[in-house]
């Protein structure tokens, strides 16, 4: 495994392998052992062209817990604002000794371009590229689901999962749909017509405009953030209308199955897609998702950096 760019590149076997590794790492680091020496001497660079709290901090703690050195780069306040290109920025970072670059970029495909254009030798992890993919988020969501429904599950068949909200702009939804389908879950995407992509029929999952239909059947309700910063048009009349149709409020929360869980990748727009009562309820695993993110990213870093340096920059994961 050289890069982690897309869930599409991973086999079901590789996905389960990462989740199993994460489970062991969680047990290993839950007690007094917070730090493992495994990646000593390796350098991980967080290259963030978009704002982020939890993803960047999560990669940073994951790398530090494996004893790697971490350098954080954010485009704001850097030479990027003087017009430096992605290529020059990445080559500069590699010249400073980066072994792995974690990239978040507003353009879909940026991570793949960085990994496969021959600019650099380092491994690349996609930490969100535009509206395309966010593979480590899908992996941590799968890890969270597994913790609730059976920590050694190798398949999600029989689990009914709803992904609700701004599907159109969501890289989290794309990565999750790919992963959950590979794992055999029964996925339904729920959104207003304006926030469902026009290509939805080719995704191979069900879609619905009605959140209230079959609400009692879902084991997992995954709420998505309404991405106002990506909206250059009006996709719904106003916030209140959206909440009424697609927000997880107290009434909808009550209708959920007794063992159902509520997920949200964060940051939450409280009162818009999720009410404060739902976000803080016992069904909500939002905080668990954050701590699971660290161990899942440790597993990913170990998979990519735990082996010998691979000189070929063209070998991608799963190939």
């Amino acid at each position: 495994m050289k890069h982690l760019l897309s869930i599409a590149d991973l086999s079901e076997f590789e996905i389960v392998g990462i989740l199993d590794t994460a489970s062991e790492l969680e047990k290993l680091t839950s007690g007094s052992v917070k730090k493992l020496p495994t990646l000593r001497g390796r350098t991980v660079v967080n290259l963030f062209f978009e704002d982020s709290t939890r993803t960047r901090l999560s990669f940073e703690s994951a790398a530090k817990r494996l004893s790697a050195d971490v350098t954080n780069f954010s485009a704001k306040g850097s030479s990027v604002s003087k017009g430096e290109s992605l290529k020059d920025t990445a080559q500069t970072l590699e010249a400073m000794g980066a072994d792995l670059i974690v990239i978040r970029h507003p353009a879909s495909g940026a991570a793949k371009r960085l990994a496969e254009s021959g600019w650099i030798e380092s491994s690349v992890i996609n930490a969100g590229d535009g509206t395309h993919e966010h593979p480590t988020q899908a992996l941590l969501d799968a890890f969270t689901i597994r913790k609730h429904f059976g920590s050694t599950l190798t398949t999600f068949s029989g689990l009914k999962i709803a992904i609700v909200g701004d599907i159109l702009h969501s890289r989290v939804a794309r990565s999750n749909v790919l992963l959950l389908r590979k794992m055999g879950a029964d996925v339904t995407l729920i959104a207003p017509p304006t926030l469902l992509p026009s290509t939805i029929d080719s995704w191979g999952v069900r879609s619905s405009y009605d959140f209230d239909e079959n609400l009692e059947e879902f084991d997992v309700v995954m709420m998505l953030r309404v991405q106002l910063e990506r909206m250059n048009d009006s996709f719904f009349p106003n916030g209140r209308e959206y909440s009424k149709g697609y927000g997880l409020d107290g009434d909808r929360l009550k209708r959920l199955k007794s063992n159902a869980i509520v997920m949200h990748p964060g940051p939450m727009n409280r009162g818009l897609e999720i009410s404060a009562a739902s976000a803080d309820s016992i069904r909500s695993v939002v905080i668990d998702q954050v701590s699971n993110g660290v161990v899942v990213r440790m597993a990913a870093l170990y998979q990519l950096l735990g082996g010998p340096n691979i000189s070929s920059t063209h070998e991608t994961l799963g190939a």
């Binding site: 062991e24 495994t38 340096n309």
Partner: protein, 176 residues
């Protein structure tokens, strides 16, 4: 390929090691066993069974050393095995580490690091089913099932019924 130990000989070696552990530690009160996955774990459970039949129950755990290896840059990442704390932890105990084959000593070096993360045992002892020599580090076993002089062209295979379906130790020529 030549057979070094058969099922009965493995059983006898483990029985002798059990008695040696009891003798050296004046009983089993301070002893906890930690097996190194994969096969060290099964050997640890077997030793615990024998010790229990002689003196009484002994806490058993397992110690995965993957994240403490020093050869990450040389080999592909390996899946992690389970680490299980023995009942009562490791703090202040006399820990007997158990592995199937002692070779370069690097696994045991990693195990000492991994163990150090879990706590501070009073002492650490090492029991192995086979010592094949060729140490690269200043490490020696306290209990040995059998010393087998080997050449570097040979490899020692330990099979245990728990995962391999049979009990035996054999030497295999490695093809270059």
């Amino acid at each position: 390929m030549s057979l070094i130990l058969d099922q009965a000989e493995i059983a006898r070696a483990l029985k002798r090691i059990s008695h040696e552990i009891i003798e050296r530690n004046h009983g089993i009160d301070s002893i906890s066993l930690m097996g190194i996955p994969t096969r060290g774990r099964y050997l640890a459970s077997r030793l615990a069974g024998i010790l229990e039949s002689i003196e009484g129950p002994v806490p058993v755990g397992s110690l995965d050393i993957t994240m403490h290896r020093d050869d990450h840059r040389l080999r592909a990442p390996r899946p992690l095995a389970e680490t299980v704390m023995p009942q009562g932890g490791v703090e202040g105990r006399d820990i007997v580490l158990i592995d199937d084959v002692l070779f370069s000593g690097r696994t045991i070096r990693a195990a000492l690091d991994a163990l150090g993360e879990l706590g501070r045992p009073r002492s650490v002892q090492l029991a192995v089913l086979v010592d094949r020599g060729h140490r690269q580090l200043p490490i020696r076993p306290d209990y040995v099932g059998k010393n087998i002089p080997t050449s570097l062209k040979e490899s020692v295979k330990v099979k245990l019924s728990e995962i391999d379906g049979e009990d035996l130790v054999e030497i295999v020529e490695v093809e270059e």
